[in-house]
Amino acid sequence: MRVLIAEDDPVSRRQSQKLEAIGQLAPGVAHEINTPMQFIGDNVAFLGEVWTSLKPAIARFMAMPQLLRSGAAPALLADEIGAMITDADLEYLINEFPRAVEQSLEGVRRVSKIVRAMKDFSRPASDQKVPVDINAAIETTVTVARNEWRYVADVVTDFDPNLPAVVCLAGEFNQVILCLLVNAAHAIKDVIGDGSQAKGQITITTRRQENMAEIRISDTGSGIPEAMRDRVFDPFFTTREAGRGTGQGPAIAYSVVAQQHNGKIRFETELGKGTTFIVQFPLEETALDHELYEKGLIR
């Protein structure tokens, strides 16, 4: 039997948890944007310089027909062309120019992706349960939190493409994924320490298990010691030192999954191998039912 805080105001608590999550992600998101901005800016400046260095070569090129018509010796023409190639550093530019363009475009795509994900992630809180494409929602959360995991782990996703929409509180669903993802990253960070060892791996899979949508989030951390296993979902229980995350991830996930969605959450853990959190959301209230409900055809 779990004890809840008396006079708990779930709406304002959820809102503040969400704001807290966004606040904690903000510096990481800024970093994820600043890095591409750095090289996009430099590359565009480089392309500008290239143009400046090409201009004289282009002027000489445009004078070529005149040279040819005046009957210049082939050797002279060859020298002129050779000088143009050297002066404008064409051998270098032929590779660097397209790479600078390509990498800049890739940087722009990366910035757009994270801005879009941030927007999806921070949609205004709603009390309405809506059908959510949970594969897309997980992808969004993984993107927004990239800076939280990329230094310690790779994230591998294995989504069931035929998974029906899950009717849930969209913001809270993201919160669950974020909590468990950050929790997994911290578990791996504890193992790899200052990073002299190789990165770990976080695996996120989605599957349909009969009338449940199941999400598994696995880490390659050290596993949960036996003495702590009973308390993983307890609020206010944490193994984290101050300033190293709240350690409240599993407790928050529990309250969202079990209390707000009638879902299930449990974990499998093995010392030295890692931990898998298994979250199940009910599918009975399918997207179709939800649509009918919205239209007042069923209640």
Partner: protein, 129 residues
């Protein structure tokens, strides 16, 4: 003769952009991690300056620079990072003994001017970016 500078960052695109922007002013080498940076310093050093990211997978920028100091005490250490904040800067100065703490995005012409300036070793003044 061009001064030799080593850049350490886990972003290939970023290293490529430095290479393009600074090749006229400096002779630049690159490493994708702190460990690779240390190996490069041992194999190809000495460098006039080493410019490192703050957060990288594996060894972070501070650990890298403090080890870099052991390998080559005379090499100027600079942090160029998207992670800002005074505590990070203080830690960098304290543990990495860094000369400059620069925030991304820092346009390459500023970076180039700054490096040129601080590499005038006779210049007795600390330089603000």
């Amino acid at each position: 003769m061009k001064r030799r500078i080593l850049f350490v960052d886990d972003e290939q695109s970023l290293l490529d952009s430095y290479r393009r922007s600074l090749r006229d002013q400096f002779e630049v080498d690159f490493a994708l991690s702190g460990q690779q940076g240390l190996d490069t310093m041992r194999a190809n050093g000495p460098y006039a300056a080493v410019v490192s990211d703050f957060r990288m997978p594996g060894m972070d920028g501070i650990s890298f620079l403090s080890r870099a100091r052991e390998i080559s005490p005379g090499t100027l250490r600079v942090i160029l990072t998207g992670v800002s904040g005074i505590p990070n800067a203080v830690q960098a100065v304290k543990d990495g003994d860094v000369y400059c703490f620069l925030a991304k995005p820092c346009p390459s012409h500023l970076l180039s001017e700054l490096l040129t300036l601080v590499l005038c070793l006779d210049c007795p003044f600390p330089v603000q970016p």
